[in-house]
């Protein structure tokens, strides 16, 4: 079965090619069949391959498959080759299964689009293919191909409704900002190849650990450059500004790309290159610090948004902050576990929000929603399941187990572990608050906008499946204090380093604190946003409250700074030099010649007197030169 691995990324690409070339001649049923079917088959093969991998692990717990030699120049020989280990097994399973569910959902969600149905599925398929290439790549150049591919799809899908220039702007912003990070990654690739002579990930890691000293400047440079790439793609400080705007795309896109899969590419990259980050403790600590900072900043911003999708966007930034925190403290498997549970519940929340938005005639402002739990009970219950998981309700939700593993890892870390843990805990409180603010505003209270949608089975089935997964996926990795069945961690540890352990009693205490914070946050949200909404209203009309609210609402002013400092300057310089300063001397030469032409042609008057005078004058000058100069 393992040798069918190549089909997993290739099938979505095939779907893309068919839809891109022949999409306009296909009707909607055919488009949906191809678009959803290619991902479905891909998911099927991913399941088969994953099953085979778990049942009969290949030698060395890894399997690689080379299709052809991509480039062979001067000792640089990247192949088009895939590498499967437990890390990539989890990645492809989540990407294909969640991707498949979102495609099923999209088939109904996008049905009312006047045009672009085929374009939508072509891009979605291309995205899944690129993402699978990214996570399966056996060398960094192929990874970079997938990396840029998902960036492109993100651009195409954010700008899906292209007639509105605002969407185009958001799309270009996403591509450009992530490209800044990508360029850092590219320079990292140049550095790694120049110093170690290969870009193939496994030999590269081996060589790095053999030749490089822990903490040496070269490791700092290499890991730092890769981190730059990860920051862009995963929307972490200071390159997080593109993600909230990315919500301009259709909701399934937000679910697939900007929540469940693409944005976790940075986490995957760091996990994949874990040797390099372990060799460079400074950078690894930076990763943790960036994660901690991002999760808090984004949490505050999420708390102030009115647009339900922007709440979820900031929540995504914040949750990926947790994953960064996890990889930064060396809790590798916890990061991947949170990646998986987050993919389930965040895709679910986005798709639930999508149904609500369509049902309210594309109203995204939560303050115009309300009371929806009666109209659409199934969406309500699944949404609550996802929200509880996001808020990490103790014991019964997946989010609890994954977040708990991260907090334990942070506590155990040597590099300022208590502070990182405190930041994570603070983020957990914020998470509960903004999540249930969203739930209460949307589904409780009085009805503010009439709801009209009767969702079909293709919209609801993915919600139910994901709600189920958001609850039970946590049981895959039970901590020592609660059953001690760490299947997931054990599986991950065949490819990732072990996490540092803490004492069982400490772990139990940490869990109790985290549980209290989670439940406390939910109760506080209930009190503040449902029971006594006037409390907040009074707070935000005070001058200080309003300023802080505004500051959080606009995402801590990053956009403002970038727009004015970088974008503004660039546009100004470009416009000012539109005529090309280097052309000026050239034009000057031409003008001088033309002037000379005019002056000299004036001398050709046709009058003999004038000519005679000129000759005489010239003769005098010539004689004068001869006499006086020599």
């Amino acid at each position: 079965m393992l040798h069918l691995l190549f089909l997993v990324p290739v099938l979505p690409f095939c779907g893309f090619v068919v839809l891109a070339l022949f999409g306009r001649w296909l009707d909607r049923r055919q488009v949906a069949a191809i678009g959803v079917g290619s991902i479905g088959l891909s998911a099927l093969f991913a399941l088969l391959v994953g099953f085979d991998f778990v049942i009969a692990p290949p030698e060395g717990d890894a399997f690689s498959q080379s299709l052809w030699t991509w480039i062979n120049v001067g000792g640089f020989t990247p192949h088009i080759a895939f590498y499967l280990d437990s890390l990539s097994v989890i990645m492809i399973l989540v990407v294909t299964v969640v991707g498949f569910l979102i495609h099923v959902y999209s088939a109904e969600y996008m049905e009312d689009e006047p045009d672009g149905y085929a374009r939508f599925f072509a891009c979605m398929n291309l995205f899944v293919g690129s993402m699978l290439t990214l996570v399966l790549a056996d060398n960094l150049l192929l990874l970079y191909l997938g990396w840029e591919g998902v960036g492109l799809c993100s651009y195409l899908l954010i700008g899906f409704w292209y007639t509105d220039p605002a969407n185009g702007r958001a799309a270009r912003k996403a591509f450009t900002v992530t490209r800044v990070g990508d360029t850092a990654l590219l320079v990292g690739l140049l550095l790694l190849f120049t110093k170690l002579g290969t870009l193939q990930i496994q030999p590269l890691m081996q060589l790095a650990s053999e030749h490089w000293v822990v903490g040496s400047s070269i490791t700092v440079a290499a890991a730092g450059l890769l981190l730059g790439g990860a920051l862009g793609k995963s929307a972490q400080l200071p390159l997080q500004t593109w993600l909230p705007d990315a919500m301009a795309g259709p909701t399934p896109v937000s679910a697939l790309i900007h929540a469940a899969t693409m944005v976790t590419a940075g986490v995957y990259l760091i996990a994949r290159m874990n040797v390099l980050f372990t060799l460079s403790p400074v950078i690894q600590t930076t990763v943790a610090a960036v994660g901690a900072g991002t999760l808090i900043l984004a949490g505050f911003s999420a708390l102030t948004q009115r647009d339900i999708k922007r709440v979820l966007a900031y929540s995504t930034i914040s949750q990926i902050g947790y994953m960064f925190l996890a990889v930064g403290v060396g809790a590798w498997s916890a990061a991947m576990f949170h990646f998986m549970t987050h993919a389930f519940f965040k895709a679910l929340l986005f798709m639930g929000a999508g149904v609500v938005i369509v049902g309210l005639h594309h109203e995204q402002d939560m303050f115009k929603m309300g009371g929806l739990r009666k109209q659409t009970p199934l969406v309500f219950w699944t949404f609550v399941a996802g929200s509880l998981s996001l808020a990490a309700l103790p014991l019964v939700t997946a989010g609890f187990y994954s977040k708990d593993a991260i907090l334990a890892g942070a506590w155990a870390s040597d590099a300022g572990g208590r502070w990182l843990w405190a930041a994570g805990l603070c983020g957990a409180l914020l998470t509960s608050l903004y999540t249930f603010r969203m739930v209460f505003l949307t589904f409780f209270g009085e009805e503010r906008t009439p709801y009209h949608l009767k969702p079909g089975v293709r919209l609801l089935l993915p919600l139910v499946v994901l709600a189920f997964l958001s609850i039970v996926a946590g049981f895959l990795d039970l901590p020592r204090t609660l059953g001690n069945q760490p299947w997931f961690s054990d599986f991950m540890h065949t490819s990732l380093p072990e996490t540092k352990e803490i004492a069982g009693s400490t772990e139990r205490n940490l869990q109790i604190v985290a549980s209290l914070v989670s439940i406390g946050g939910i109760l506080a949200a209930y009190y503040v946003f449902l029971r006594e909404p006037g409390l907040v209203r009074r707070l935000v009309i005070t001058p200080l409250g309003a300023a802080v609210h505004r500051f959080w609402f606009v995402g801590w002013g990053f956009d403002w700074a970038y727009d004015n400092l970088i974008v503004g300057t660039y546009v100004w310089v470009a416009r000012a030099n539109r005529a090309d300063v280097f052309d000026l001397p050239i034009r000057a030469i031409a003008l001088i010649n033309q002037a000379g032409h005019i002056v000299l042609s004036r001398t050709e008057t046709g009058r003999l007197r004038w000519y005679a005078t000129s000759v005489a004058f010239g003769a005098i000058v010539a004689v004068g030169i001869v006499v006086f100069v020599t």
């Binding site: 120049v73 088009i80 292209y162 590219l186 470009a574 050239i586």
Partner: protein, 518 residues
């Protein structure tokens, strides 16, 4: 013999096309297409024969060579030779020639015979440039290429064509003149030193000369090639010429004329003056990076869509210059790859802009917008080539740019890192172009016929080639490898202190050929 045929066939086809213009408008088009198609078939056969998987690796520098005495008194011979590098560039020339004929099929309605005569003579002269190994012959073809191009811009160009064609001619002529002086200088220096007065490239290699002589002669060549490439600040003829030329002329300019400059540097400038080029390399790389960034910023500032595409050429050719002066295998292979991929990408963008101009009769981006709505296929194709030109992996341009920066990183880390900034700014102008022309609201209410069969076929071919370059670049890289190795050897013999490929501080890395898991 076959080399002579390669050039003569196209020259003759051009004359025939001119004559046939008397019989009707269709004749010149058909004759040109046939001439170039037959030519393409011959080239593919030659390619497979000499560079295909079955062929033995040639040991001599050139796989085919033809020499005839021409003016023996002056040491001038008719000397053509082909290696992998010239093979690739001739195939490119031929391919773009076909595309140029195809894209002018309906656009050119006046003096059709003379148009095709000019077009084919440009193609033939450029092939001559790529094949000539005698410096005098090289200069002959070099100048020959200008005249039909001048006519092409001057007769069939847009509103400001006279200005553009004269500017183009003066720039290249001035550069060419400096090269002629340098060629003659080299001729006499070599004659004085060895007693043999010759224009033969193979004999002129390794001519002993003083450092300052070498520098001045090298700069003479550099002037001519830098104008063609073009290198900032000698680029200002290009936006005017590209913008004002008819579509076929823009394709020839961007796809072929610029490549001639790069080819000249690889084949002549560095091998003839290795030391001087090495001393000059930091300056040249600085100019290259300046070009990459400056071209990109200016491209973004344009409002004329054709001018925008023209400025992107300056940016991309900066990478080629960078690769040439980094002068290692990675960088040179990358430079060759960019030459090919850029020719096709930019050629396609010019053809597309031409098709667009045929429909809406303007190049002003302010009068576009929302065209995707009415012509989605054109939008999709434009997007594809915009994305190719911003260096998306999986497409040809990326392979070239990556190899160039990888090679440059080993030669000059700072320049490589600065050059990668070009990858960011290229996103800005590419996406801006797509946004303004094709996306947004269709505020002028354009209703356009979408791409027709002929236009679609041109674009489909070019897309296929770019994808092929991106996914299977090895077929191209392998063809160029032997000639690049030969050129590197020539240079290495005169640069004894030259550092070898391996970076200084690399550990002794022994890698398994095929890595099979941990």
């Amino acid at each position: 013999m076959i080399l002579t045929w390669l050039i003569v066939e196209v020259f003759a086809g051009g004359i025939l096309a001119w004559i046939s213009g008397r019989w009707g408008r269709l004749w010149p088009r058909v004759i040109s297409l046939l001439t170039l198609s037959v030519h393409m078939v011959i080239l593919i056969v030659l390619w497979v024969h000499y560079f295909g998987p079955m062929s033995a690796t040639p040991h001599s520098p050139f796989v085919i060579e033809t020499t005839h005495s021409w003016i023996p008194q002056l040491g001038i011979s008719y000397h053509l030779a082909m290696d992998g590098l010239s093979m690739l560039l001739i195939m490119l020339t031929n391919f773009l020639g076909i595309m140029a004929v195809a894209c002018s099929w309906n656009a050119i309605q006046e003096r059709v015979g003379f148009f095709h005569f000019n077009l084919l003579w440009i193609v033939a002269a450029i092939m001559g440039v790529f094949l000539a190994i005698d410096l005098f012959l090289f200069y002959f073809f070099w100048e020959l290429m200008l005249v039909p191009l001048y006519f092409l811009i001057g007769f069939w160009g847009y509103e400001n064509r006279t200005y553009a064609s004269i500017k183009f001619f003066i720039f290249t002529q001035a550069g060419g003149l400096l090269m002629l002086v340098a060629i003659l200088g080299l001729f006499f220096v070599h004659g004085n030193a060895t007693g043999v007065y010759t224009f033969n490239y193979n004999e002129l290699l390794g001519t002993p000369m003083s450092e300052s002589t070498a520098r001045w002669l090298m700069l003479g060549f550099f002037a001519a090639f830098a104008v063609k490439l073009p290198v900032v600040p000698l680029h200002t003829w290009l936006p005017d010429a590209h913008t004002q030329a008819p579509t076929a002329g823009s394709v020839a300019l961007a796809g072929l004329v610029l490549k001639v400059g790069a080819y000249g540097m690889i084949r002549f400038l560095v091998p003839l003056f290795p030391e001087a080029a090495l001393d000059f390399s930091n300056v040249a790389m600085g100019l290259a990076v300046a070009g990459i960034l400056y071209g990109a910023v200016l491209a973004f500032a344009q409002t004329d869509i054709k001018r925008l595409v023209a400025y992107t050429s300056i940016s991309h050719m900066g990478f080629v210059l960078l690769g040439i002066f980094a002068w290692n295998e990675l960088a040179l292979e990358g430079a060759v790859m960019i030459m090919l991929a850029h020719a096709i990408t930019t050629g396609a963008l010019f053809i597309l802009v031409g098709d667009l101009n045929d429909r809406i009769h303007t190049r002003d981006m302010g009068r576009m917008g929302g065209l995707w709505q009415t012509a989605p296929r054109m939008g999709g194709v434009a997007l594809f080539f915009a994305v190719a030109s911003l260096g998306l992996p999986g497409l040809g341009n990326f392979v070239g740019e990556f190899l160039v920066v990888l090679g440059t990183y080993q030669a000059n880390t700072t320049m490589a890192v600065l050059a990668t900034l070009g990858l960011i700014v290229s996103v800005v102008y590419s996406l801006w172009m797509i946004q303004v022309a094709f996306l947004g609201p269709n505020h002028l209410g354009w209703k356009l016929p979408d791409m027709k069969l002929r236009e679609g076929a041109i674009m489909a071919t070019m897309i296929a080639v770019i994808v092929w370059f991106g996914l299977f670049p090895q077929s191209i890289l392998a063809t160029a490898r032997q000639s690049i190795t030969n050129l590197q050897q020539i240079v290495a013999t005169t640069r004894p202190e030259e550092k070898t490929q391996a970076p200084v501080d690399a550990p002794n890395v022994v890698l398994p050929d095929e890595w099979e898991g941990p």
